[in-house]
Each structure stands twice: as structure tokens, then as C-alpha cells.
Symmetry: C2
Subunit: 250 residues, 2 copies
Amino acid sequence: MCQLLGMNGNTPTDIVFSFTGFATRADEHQDGFGIAFFEGAGLRLFVDAQSARQSPVADMVRRYPIRSKHVIAHIRKATQGRIALENTHPFVRELWGRYWAFAHNGNLVDYAPRLHASFHPVGDTDSERAFCWLMQELSKAHARMPSVDELTATLRELVPQIAAHGNFNFLLSQGEALWAHCSTELHWLERSHPFGTARLADEDLSVDFGALTSRDDRVALVATQPLTTDEHWQAFGAGELRVFVEGRSR
Amino acid sequence: MCQLLGMNGNTPTDIVFSFTGFATRADEHQDGFGIAFFEGAGLRLFVDAQSARQSPVADMVRRYPIRSKHVIAHIRKATQGRIALENTHPFVRELWGRYWAFAHNGNLVDYAPRLHASFHPVGDTDSERAFCWLMQELSKAHARMPSVDELTATLRELVPQIAAHGNFNFLLSQGEALWAHCSTELHWLERSHPFGTARLADEDLSVDFGALTSRDDRVALVATQPLTTDEHWQAFGAGELRVFVEGRSR
């Protein structure tokens, strides 16, 4: 199964710590990885069709502290679509003058939505088809960028139509909010003052967040499985859609 | 002034050699850089709002031999738009299920095209506005991906309408062909068998292409200024649009 990792903060935060633990899981997920960082309206997308264990791109991401308020990362275990760069998540499109990034974990069966507008898949995954359909339907529902609450309301109508086709755990962001939907497995966590020490579940490494953060910093993390052993990760319910803004779940 | 570098080959070629010479020019161009590599239909885009001299991303690109048939690179000297990630070229959009990458060198004065369809700028540069307008007009001119020759014919109608507003040197690719347009300064070169030794104009470094290539390899390079001192670079004429396919100028 693929692995998802999302971060939403109220201040630009580097994700090196979390990505180190996340990339460790790539042993079983050899079919590519990708990570999207929003910096204001701008977006950096690093993708590689090789495993995050071996990729020089993943190595750079682990060592280069890119500070971002919204991050979406994905490690791929191919279910549909060849192992190829165009099938590597996150996928990105522009809508209403903002970039949107999307990553999916799961498998949609017989999912062939009617794509009659301006969003078409480049690769051949169920995931990119679902993303293009979401973008198409959002663009039809709103003439310009609506508020986060309005977007959430529209997504609550759209997402179940896709989720009916199979497992649809996903992360979505346009650089202002992070939406996370769970079909089968997804966990989330809020970190805020006072920050404690967090120990990675997969590696013998811990970081004292108290020393790295200020009183007002808040960050929310979303991951397929809890990344740390000594923090209070909460499981999403099946069919639950959450939106994170400024490091908080709404 | 910004610097453009494009490559179009008939076989996936690594661009480490050319990018080393190109990045050297970044001393005067401190406002960001970007490079887009097509791998099949997939695209890798590396952008950084710091100079290519200092960026860890540029450092990785110089050391990681990514093999690609179509590459577009850009070093930015800001004329319009702040120094920010969202204003860093190349820009990317999806049209007809393919990614399109675009980089511009020049300055368009009072250029505010009507963008009434599905392509809107995220940043605030004249360049991204021009790219969005090109995508919009291409999408109106053709219902699906036409042939390279048809696209070239359409671009010959569209490009002069933008170029009337100022300097419009650009590179454009959808992973099948590389289009290059010159308003003021652009050079091109074809390399094919027998490959000689090329010496970079900016660094004391040379590479014997004969040892690295096979008989059938062909590659075309387009750059603002010639990158090497001992090869036959040809200057574009003002208003000239060229298309490169499989390493050859058509």
C-alpha cells in the first residue's frame, strides 16, 4: 500500500524530521515517491520513479530544509498504472490561479469519470483521473476561488461519489488549507506549545521540538500510519473528511 | 537579462555538461532558476528562488545525470514580478493530457491579455500571462493534441501578437517537440555523429562527446548565448520561430 504524509502549519516549518521517518518506510514501496512544498502561492514538486531509499532527489529533500506551511508527500506502491514519472504522486494542476496538489492511497475499481472540461490525466492511474474529476467539478461549482469552508462543503458532496468506487484515502492542498479524506487508514496529530520530544517509530532518532519552535507555532500532521511513538495520533473514521488550516483541524 | 537553455534529442541524454556551463552564468542572474526535464509524458520541474550558484537544488541537478529528450532551463533576472517561487520559470500547465513547459527571456510592456478560459497565472509576471494566453488560444484552436506541424502553424499566428508587446524570446515544449522563438537574442546548434570535443565558454572544462554517444544520437541545443567556443552555433533572426524534433531543426 502507498503511504501518505501531509503537513499544515501556521508558520513555514521544515519537514526534514518527518520525511526521514517516512522515507524509511520506502523499503516496501519501491515504485516512486514525490513531495510537494507550497511556498506562498509557489510550489516545488520533487518526484522520482525510483524508491525514496535510493533516489538522489529524496536524499536532497532529507538534507535541504525547505520551509513550507503546506506539504504533501507520497510513496508509491503501484496498483494501477506503470512505474513511470507521469504516474508518480503528488499530481499538480492550476485552478483559479492557484496550484493544487493531490496524492492518493488506495485503489478505485472501474473508475472512468467523464472528463469533458480542462483537466485531463497525463498518466494512466485511477488517482490522477480522480484528481482531474475533482478539479473539473470544483471549477464548475465555483466561478473563482471560494472560501475554505465553501470548498470543504463542495468536497463533501464530491468525494463520496469517488469513494464509492473503492479505497480513496487522499491529501489535497491549494497552499491555503490541507484536506484529508480517509476510506480505510489515516491518522492525524496537532503539535503546539509546549512541544515535547518526539521519537520516530521507524528509526532510532528523536528531536526535541521545544528547542526548535516558538510559543505560537502550530503544525498538524496527517499520515497513513503514526510516524512517532510518543505522541497522540488520532485515527480518522471511515468516510471522514478533515480540513487543516494554520496548523489546526477545523 | 535572463538566460534560456533548451535541449531536444532523439535519445534520452543527460544535460549535466551543458547545465554546468549555463549555471556559471548565474552570477549576474540572482533571482532564481528552474529546469524542466521530460521523461516520456512525465515531467520533473526543479525550481529555486535563489541563484543557481548557491541553490542545493541546482547542485543536485549538476551531479545527478537525469536522462531526458526535452529539457528547458531558465536563469532569472527579474524584470516584472517579485523574486518568488511562483515567478520562477519554467512554468508548467497541462493541456490535452500532456504537460507543457515554458520559459521566457525578455520583457512585455503593458501586456494584459484577456484570460477567459482555464489558464490563469499564479504569479505576477508578464511571462506567465503570455504562457497562459498561448495555452488558452491553443486549446481554442484545436480540440485535441494536433501534429507538431499543426501546432507550429498555430504558434506562427499567435506568437507575433505577443511579440508586438516587447521582447519575447521563449522556449516551449510538450515532451514531443521544442519550440524556440527569438525577438532579440537566441542561438542554436545541432550535434550529431561524428561528435567532437566541446569546450565550455565559461569554464575550463571540455567533454569528448565521441566517447559518450552512439552513431545515431542527435541533439539540438538552444541557448541565449553560445555555450561552447568550438562548435558552430547559429543565431536566430528577429521574429524567427523554430521547432526541434528528434534532435533536428525542422
